[in-house]
């Protein structure tokens, strides 16, 4: 039966169509087979026409495609899609690559409204399918890339926060990315840096019973050991796993693809390994390997991060423990000064309310009187980075304020900026109170000493004056004269001791000030020698003064410096057996002058030398030999020398070998050529001077003896015993010189002076204050009241002589 198709169309379908076309009859025997099919299938039309289709292509039945022909005979058209069937007709050219991609339509052949068979049209769509396949591959790659990206994102949180420990992180990594790589096995090892052994921290797929065999690996043992040793990644395909002896273990699980990466520390070296095995793949693709490398980097970072975090936490924990163990309040502040941490000790102290200390709440715990200065200093330290320390009162839980000593130091970052402040406060309440009590006691003692010295000096004034009178009226009785001389000397000594005592008390109260002027060292030494002479002579010593010339000039308080050398000389005299030798040697040295006082006395033991200048540190056995002293002379000397920017040293070869005190003083000025030598005054050279003198003192003894002394000098003296009498007598008598005690009943000395100065006749009188008080403030007061001079009791007879002799008010060294 021929194809019932018009001739031209039949010809085109047979010879020209770019499709395969064949027809069958109702028995599904092939009735036509076009040229395209001959070429395509390699079967000629002659060889197929007339034969049943299923006989030619038995596999059509196997693939149930014969059903479509039955449908066609039932009047239904069918589609054979490439995607579901690949092809309709196989090509039997034996080439495995030539499996065609076909699309076919099978329709009933209807001629004149009557079904006569089937028509099959086949398109070869291999090219299209290849293009689609290419496209699908592309899509797959992109999809996998997106999948990996999504997996990494999913892991990012776990990998970067460092919250997971190694084991849980490993499991998470395996569970998350294993399925995407068909990896049913995973091993995560940590390399112990000391033992150089690998320890399994996480795994997947390994039965627990077999895990024991791989819990520990040596370097170079199995693939993971090799990777840890070489620090290089290792990929193994099926062949490698089957042939490499190191693949034995994973081979036993049926792993056919394996990838192992080292976990490289960001600081160099290997921390461990991360590996994946698949039983479903022959190898891992390049994309897989690159992905695993990235994952490994992230895991290594996570490990490192966790390590750092643990170190930090442990260091914080250590700090916390140490802070809580400290028996002091420990705190940490922000760079700006807000409290961020306090230890338990604080809460023991402040109670639950101590919670309010954080931030700037600390201010609420500071004593209101302390807060201002403390806040200001703290702000200053925060701004400058200077350490912050001091004393402050904190409020305790019971509301009581307790003194604390504190110190706060900055911790600095590498760039020098302040990272935090660390502070510590120690309860110093008892110590502070004790110190205050001690200070108060010391103050009271000093005040008592000052008062004592003052009160002791009052009786000395009349004694001295009396001695002056007795000296002037010698009885010629040798015994009496000797007794008088002894009394004279002892009074002078007692007077000096009281002076020292007063000075020491002033020193310790910080009330001793220098009145520097330009002085000759020779004058100072001369005066000191004069002062010490009685004791030196008394003990039968010889004194040799060497090198004291008038060219050495100092900027010094003359009286004080004199005191220094007088003390040293007295000291030498005191601690040397009678008949000894004392040398005073002046030497110019670089930057100043050295004055050495050397004796042949008892010397000083070596262990005592460092303490010789301490107050009251008189040599123990010295008391027996020297006959007294308070042990304050050297201390006073040292303080006075230091106040003159000098130094004082002691040398001694030991007991019995004498002592040597060396005073070093800076020399500042050249001598003033115009300065005249101090007039040498003494009773012998004074002569008689007749002047009108008024003496006023409520201590009648003092007034009378002073008057007697002045009368001896030839003065016309009037004596009164209170202020009002003094004023009245002055009005009448018009004295040239007035000696007024300050502390008189009724009108005191200042008032008398003030009133006299207010009179026309009183302007030119020389008015002298005589008092037990010699402080600078006292002197200032008398000067304001109009006094010309301020003399401290007991008054030196020589000074009185000088006052009487001078016709003007310029008597040096008295003000």
């Amino acid at each position: 039966m021929s194809a019932p198709v018009p001739g031209m169309l039949a010809h085109w379908l047979t010879e020209c169509a770019d499709q395969g076309v064949f027809t069958t009859d109702l028995d599904l025997r092939v009735t036509s087979w076009n040229t395209w099919l001959e070429r395509y299938t390699g079967r000629s039309a002659d060889s197929v026409v007339g034969r049943p289709l299923v006989e030619l292509y038995p596999e059509l039945a196997e693939r149930h495609l014969d059903l479509l022909y039955r449908d066609a005979l039932g009047g239904h058209g069918s589609i054979v899609s490439t995607a579901l069937h690949r092809y309709l007709l196989p090509i039997e050219d034996g080439s495995p690559d030539s499996e065609p991609s076909q699309r076919a339509r099978i329709v009933p052949a209807i001629v004149n409204g009557e079904l006569v068979g089937t028509v099959t049209v086949i398109d070869d769509v291999s090219e299209r399918v290849a293009a689609e396949r290419q496209l699908r591959r592309q899509v797959l790659i992109e999809h996998e890339a997106r999948t990996r990206q999504a997996l990494l994102l999913k892991l990012t949180d776990a990998l970067l926060t460092g919250r997971h420990d190694e084991a849980s992180l490993g499991r998470l990594v395996f569970e998350t990315i294993g399925p995407a790589l068909d990896a049913d096995f995973g091993f995560n090892y940590r390399l112990d840096q000391t033992s150089r052994m690998l320890t399994l921290v996480a795994s997947i797929g390994v039965p627990p019973t077999l895990r024991d065999g791989v819990t520990q690996l040596a370097l170079d043992q199995a693939f993971c050991g090799a990777v840890a040793a070489s620090e290089q990644p290792l990929m193994a395909d099926t062949e490698c796993i089957n042939t490499d002896p190191r693949g034995k273990f994973v081979r036993s699980f049926g792993v056919s693809a394996y990838a192992c990466h080292p976990l490289r520390s960001p600081n160099g070296g290997v921390l461990g390994t991360l590996s994946f095995g698949s039983t479903r793949r022959g190898h891992f693709s390049d994309e897989d390997v690159a992905f695993l490398q990235t994952v490994s980097h992230f895991v290594a970072l996570a490990w490192e991060r966790r390590r750092v975090q643990e170190a930090l936490e442990s260091s914080e924990e250590r700090f916390r423990t140490v802070a809580n163990a400290a028996p002091a309040i420990v705190y940490v502040c922000s760079p700006g000064g807000e409290i961020t941490f306090v230890n338990e000790k604080w809460f023991e102290f402040a109670g639950p309310a101590g919670d309010a200390v954080f931030g700037n709440g600390w201010a609420g715990f500071i004593h209101p009187d302390d807060l201002g200065p403390v806040a200001a200093q703290w702000a200053h330290c925060c701004a400058t980075g200077e350490p912050f320390d001091g004393e402050v009162r904190y409020r305790r839980a019971d509301g009581a304020y307790r003194w604390h000593m504190f110190r706060v130091l900055p911790e600095r970052a590498t760039d020098g900026s302040i990272r935090a402040w660390y502070g510590c406060s120690v309860d110093a309440h008892e110590a502070k109170l004790a110190e205050e009590a001690l200070r108060a006691t010391a103050r009271q003692k000093d005040e008592f000493i000052a008062l004592l010295a003052h009160e002791l000096r009052n009786p000395l004034a009349p004694i001295r004056s009396s001695m002056g009178v007795m000296r002037a009226r010698s009885t010629g009785d040798e015994v009496v004269d000797r007794c008088r001389e002894i009394v004279d000397r002892q009074v002078a000594q007692m007077s000096r001791l009281l002076d020292d005592l007063l000075d020491v008390s002033r020193l310790s109260r910080g009330k001793l000030t220098l009145k520097p002027e330009t002085v000759r060292l020779s004058d100072v030494i001369e005066t000191a020698v004069e002062t010490a002479h009685p004791l030196i002579d008394g003990r039968g010593h010889t004194l040799h003064v060497v090198g004291s010339d008038r060219t050495i000039v100092l900027d010094a308080d003359k009286a004080r410096l004199t005191q220094v050398f007088a003390n040293l000389l007295n000291n030498a005299a005191k601690y040397t057996e009678p008949g000894g030798r004392i040398d005073l040697v002046v030497q110019r040295v670089e930057s100043g002058v050295n004055v050495t006082v050397r004796d042949t006395g008892m010397g000083i033991e070596a262990d005592l030398r460092p303490r010789i200048f301490e107050m009251f540190s008189q040599a123990r056995h010295a008391r027996d030999t020297s006959g007294g002293g308070l042990g304050i002379g050297l201390a006073l000397a040292q303080r006075l020398v230091e106040m003159h920017d000098g130094t004082i040293d002691v040398q001694s070869q030991g007991p019995g070998h004498g002592s040597e005190f060396i005073v070093h003083l800076p020399v500042t000025a050249v001598p003033h050529a115009t300065e005249s030598a101090r007039p040498q005054l003494s009773r012998e050279t004074a002569g008689l001077v007749r002047r009108r003198v008024l003496v006023a003192d409520d201590n009648a003894d003092a007034a009378d003896t002073l008057a007697m002394f002045l009368e001896d000098l030839g003065c016309d003296v009037r004596t009164v015993y209170d202020g009002n009498a003094a004023l009245a007598e002055a009005e009448r008598f018009r004295p040239e010189l007035m000696l007024l005690d300050l502390g008189m009943p009724g009108l005191n000395g200042q008032a008398v002076c003030h009133r006299v100065r207010g009179e026309s006749w009183g302007a030119d009188a020389v008015i002298v204050a005589i008092t037990g008080w010699g402080q600078e403030a006292d002197r200032r007061r008398t000067k304001i009241a109009g006094f010309d001079y301020h003399l401290v009791k007991p008054v030196e007879p020589d000074v009185l002589v000088q006052l009487v002799r001078s016709k003007h008010r310029e008597v040096s060294g008295l003000r």
Binding site: H64, G75, H76, G77, S81, A83, V107, L140, H143
Partner: protein, 207 residues
């Protein structure tokens, strides 16, 4: 106005279920995968209402397999799937990586084949019922908006037409995809079909 009574609806459902069974068997055989088609749900509407009936179920761009059938009963048969359902169905059947349907000719062919099998089975059942030979053109697949597909059907119909809408749920590989079978029939075809159904119901009751 033809009314799809409950009895007729049950009868149509039962008949279509036979077609579904055959289609599922064919699909399973051809794809070597177990394909199930759940019991159809049937409703009938006038062609003008078709858009409103389908809109709640399919939206946006849809894939439709369109097959014209002719004979004593004639009309249009369509399988309508929304695009993602079409893509999923094709992927489930072929295991291929999905490309956008607009460029994936192979996937569209698969949808066409599936639609062809389902439509053939269902229309075949009706043909047998009416003892008429219904012949079908080879189907074509189009991607278009629902409105465009529906309006082309409305314009194409010359007489008052009705649409039988059948919910068809495919089940394979633990997944489900729902499509909609639409048969558009002129009044005469519908009346003939309903008469055939009434006869069949009578035969069923007698037997």
């Amino acid at each position: 106005m033809v009314i799809l009574s409950d009895e007729r609806r049950d009868a149509v459902t039962e008949l279509l279920n036979i077609g579904f069974g055959r289609a599922a068997a064919s699909l399973s055989a051809l794809t070597n995968a177990r394909v199930e088609l759940l019991v159809p749900e049937v409703q009938m509407c006038r062609i003008e209402e078709l858009g409103a009936v389908l809109r709640p179920h399919v939206s946006g761009e849809i894939a439709s397999v369109h097959q014209v059938f002719s004979g004593p009963v004639a009309g249009d048969a369509l399988l309508v799937l929304d695009r993602s359902s079409a893509e999923i169905l094709s992927q489930l059947l072929t295991d291929e990586i999905l490309l956008p349907l607009a460029v994936d000719i192979s996937a569209r062919e698969v949808i066409a084949e599936v639609g062809n099998i389902l439509l053939n089975a269902c229309l075949g059942v009706f043909g047998n019922l009416l003892h008429v030979q219904v012949t079908f053109a080879v189907p074509s697949v189009t991607l278009d908006a629902l409105e465009a597909v529906v309006s082309s059907l409305v314009i194409g119909s010359e007489e008052l037409s009705h649409a039988i809408v059948v919910h068809a749920e495919f089940r394979l590989k633990d997944s489900g995809v729902t499509g909609y079978l639409v048969m558009v029939l002129g009044v005469s075809s519908i009346e003939r079909l309903m008469a055939g159904i009434d006869t069949w119901m009578g035969e069923q009751q007698r037997s």
